[in-house]
Amino acid sequence: MTTPSSDVLMSFEDAIATFDPVMGLEVHVELNTLTKMFCGCPTEFGAAPNTQVCPVCLGLPGALPVVNQKAVESAIRIGLALGCSIAPWSRFARKNYFYPDMPKDFQTSQYDEPIAFNGALDIVVETDDGPQSITLGIERAHMEEDTGKISHLGGATGRIHGADYSLIDYNRAGVPLIEIVTKPIEVEPALAPAVARAYVTELRELIVALGVSDAHMHQGSMRVDANLSLKPRGRAEFGTRTETKNVNSIRSVERAVRFEIQRQAVVLSSGGTIVQETRHFHENDGSTTSGRVKEEAEDYRYFPEPDLTPVAPDEAWVESLRATLPESPLLRRARIREEWGLSEHEMQSLINAGALDLVEQTVALGADPADARKWWTGEIARISNERGLDVAVLPITPADVHRIIVLTSDGALNDKLARQVIEGVLAGEGGPDEVVASRGLAVVSDDGALLEAIDAALAAQPDVADKIRDGKVQAAGAIVGAVMKATAGKADAARVRELILRRVSGA
């Protein structure tokens, strides 16, 4: 192995004091089309191995590809959302290499003629001086097909070396991918890792807003390759780059970039050279290690795919797709933050909870933003965490939450009862009103019944009653608690408190 040791790292501060990092980020997005890129097989994730295959995606002799128009549409929409030009004429090429994950031993991919090129994406990074807006250049977005999935079994590591045998699942082979490539990113060196993270975050939101992919990094439907090189401060030409793969979370993007800056800085400072290679990121310790070092650069012998005709989207179609673009996530966030009067932190926790869309829809139905946020990022988010599911997939709708808010503000429910209603809705017991009826969750609003309970509580705790009479109003809490208990939580606590004070003062 000719790979330099990566045991020793330079501190990040020292590294960026001497070197300027240059990044290039390649993001693969698996499209959520119903069928594969070149055949009619379904793309659903998680099916039994090799059940979503046909002669085309198995590359059987004689089978031919046909381009999925829906995938072309998604590619164009991604390109347009990234401000790219859409090529009036582009082609697929064959990337030739022998490996069992490619049933044809070539991958059909766009190469020197991408469908979208020359765009930009605005991101915001946090700096010591507050949020800073940066525009990153997009080199291209192109279409390609995914490979099959190989599992190396029988060994200790799950890696190819030492495995007893390997199994291949071609369900993924031929699933449409869009690869989005940035132009070289040269930012203030200290910001580089955060910029990488912010870019992937922003891009992911854009993809999700477009509805073209679920963009789950942990499921591999969004994958990031981080290219990084260093150049001594002041030098113009780029250094040799490494490409770090296997970066499976947004946080890992930042860690991988940071690690490579520190690793390459040590190598270069000690007079070594960087090997152009693929490196693997390790989630456990945040390091990268050398992948397969090739004796010579791989020659993929690209040439135009002769089984396919050029992709030539009609201009009117492209314009009609432009009209379907959603508001940019960045602008939308700024707008919503202002409208709802949220702090940057509150906005971020809303996004992190994955609840922005749901809260917005709930507000659109007439709910107060603060109430909508309270339920979606509170009780519902808590349950989603508990179940390990996204908030969006839980069986409760913005309409349900809106109804719960209305019932609460009308005094028909209190917070405790509202939580039980949510539980009932999630358990499939019906809408909020049905759950209230079937579980008997209405607030006890009959003052007579409440006064009966209050009198009983005051009689049981005469010392507390005295304290209240003496003006220690906060002591009323104990009576409130007793009344709530007596009514099985179905009382409106504020009303109970009011009645206690009136009772004690003899009113």
């Binding site: 002669p55 030739n96 022998f98 020659d299 012998r301």
Partner: protein, 504 residues
């Protein structure tokens, strides 16, 4: 019916439709003929009597129930072993596909079945359609029924030999650089390469995707046209398939579009003369005179780029094949060699390919791999594509002035088996005249023009503009009738009788 193997396809279909003979009887007669003659000819690599008779029975049943019958219903056909068909192996003449049974039907096979055409079996071919003699097959050499010591042409030599030997009235071949026309010429039958994109390639195991095209072999122009119409038509499973009506080739073959009177015919300067055998040139010159006497306006047309067709072809076709044949790696189907539990994946792939491919296939994979390599791409593949453009322009310019172009199909008659086996360039030159229209994509027919050197068949090639396939049938039918009048019958009447009786 006396000898069912002597009937044309159109006659057979009419007899079946009229109930004069059953499809089963027709199929049986041809299966018997194969049994009697194929030990000598070796046109077939796979015949399944049961499957064939079952297909024939289905036609008879359809007729009995009064269902509509297609124009070729009940006619037997020999299928080149490069098309996938359920229930039979597909080998492409290669050891690397030994034992592979495809789980799906080629579109062409579906169309044959829908038309009631009865497939007799799969025919021998040069491995992966690379060759001009059918000597490059892993499953033995096919012999020319005119002279068993001679090659039947290639790569579709099994199909041409089957038709010439009356084992089948119809056959299907594929033409990448001449693999239908050259075998048709040297066996004295009709062979057509339709316009590229006319016949679906779905299920046709690819050699060179931008050039491969399936097409008919027959003993008459009309039969070829009838089969052409069964095979052709848009297929959404092939992105390069033409989405437009099939030109009226059967009408043209019946003379319904007129004869050659007043048509402009161009004789290509670059595709005659030096390098063409005297007997070939003589038959060609006679055809030119015949056309003039029939009222055609014959002019000489120069297509200077045609001189570069052979080198351009031998860069483009190998480049595409180097990629198309990559999938034969021993991982999923066919041969797997070297899997001893110690060799890694890459070694197993390499050993499998070394054992599974023959020398010509390896030569072309290496040529193509080299031509596509970084640093060589522009000089080889890129340059060849430019030549292809120039050839296309030569054709387009020519078709502004003339309706069809004319040349000999091949420079020589069938050469002896083994003669060019060790001389690839000599072998490649068999396709000199057929390569240009392959690179262009237009339709081209080889039509029997008489006997040349060694009393072996000579073919004349008729070429037309893209999607004007009817033009070659129109001229072909007029020439066929004038020539047969001169000969006093079909050329194939002069083929020596094959020794029969040898059970296969």
């Amino acid at each position: 019916m006396s000898d069912l193997t002597r009937l044309d396809a159109s006659e057979t279909a009419a007899a079946v439709a009229a109930g004069e003979v059953t499809a089963r009887e027709v199929a049986g007669a041809h299966l018997d003929r194969i049994e009697q003659t194929d030990e000598a000819v070796h046109a077939f690599v796979h015949v399944d009597r049961e499957l064939t008779l079952a297909a024939a029975d289905a036609v008879d049943a359809a007729r009995a129930s009064g269902g509509p019958l297609g124009p070729l219903a009940g006619v037997p056909l020999a299928l080149k072993d490069v098309f996938t068909m359920r229930g039979a192996p597909t080998t492409c003449g290669s050891k690397i596909l030994d034992g592979w049974r495809p789980p799906y039907d080629a579109t062409v096979v579906e169309r044959l079945r829908d038309a009631g055409v009865v497939v007799l079996g799969k025919t021998n071919m040069d491995e992966f359609a690379m060759g001009s003699s059918t000597e490059n097959s892993a499953y033995g050499v096919t012999h020319n029924p005119w002279n068993l010591e001679r090659i039947p042409g290639g790569s579709s030599g099994g199909s041409s030999a089957a038709v010439a030997a009356r084992q089948a009235p119809l056959a299907i071949g594929t033409d990448t650089g001449g693999s239908i026309r050259q075998p048709a010429a040297v066996t004295g039958i009709v062979g057509v390469k339709p316009t590229y994109g006319a016949v679906s390639r779905y299920g046709l195991v690819a050699f060179s995707s931008s050039l491969d095209q399936g097409g008919p072999f027959a003993r008459s122009v009309l039969d070829a046209a009838l089969l052409h119409e069964v095979m052709a038509g848009h297929d959404p499973r092939d992105a390069t398939s033409i989405d437009a009506p099939v030109p009226p080739v059967a009408a043209a073959a019946r003379g319904e579009l007129g004869g050659v009177d007043g048509l402009k015919v161009g004789v290509v300067t670059q595709l005659q003369g030096e390098g063409y055998q005297p007997g070939v040139q003589a038959r060609f010159d006679e055809v030119v005179q015949l056309l003039t006497s029939l009222g055609a306006d014959v002019v000489e047309v120069s297509c200077p780029s045609f001189d570069y067709a052979l080198p351009a072809y031998y860069l483009i076709a190998p480049s595409e094949c180097s990629s198309n044949l990559a999938r034969f790696d021993g991982m999923r189907y066919g041969l797997r060699a070297g899997d001893d539990g110690k060799n890694g994946v890459e070694q197993v792939m390499a050993i499998t390919r070394a054992e599974g491919f023959g020398p010509e296939v390896k030569r072309r994979i290496m040529l193509g791999t080299y031509a596509l390599s970084a640093g060589y791409y522009d000089a080889y593949y890129g340059q060849a594509q430019k030549v292809r453009t120039l050839i296309r322009r030569d054709f387009e310019a020519a078709y502004r002035d003339v309706d069809v172009l004319l040349s000999p199909t091949t420079p020589t008659v069938a050469f002896p088996i083994g003669e060019r086996a060790d001389d690839p360039v000599a072998m490649y030159k068999a396709d000199l005249a057929t390569l240009p229209s392959s690179l262009y994509g237009g339709p081209a027919m080889s039509l029997p023009a008489g006997l040349g050197d060694d009393d072996l068949p000579v073919g004349v090639q008729l070429m037309a503009a893209v999607q004007r396939d009817e033009q070659v049938y129109r001229v072909g039918a007029a020439l066929e009738s004038a020539l047969q009048e001169r000969w006093g019958g079909p050329l194939l009447d002069r083929i020596p009788e094959l020794a029969t009786g040898g059970a296969a």
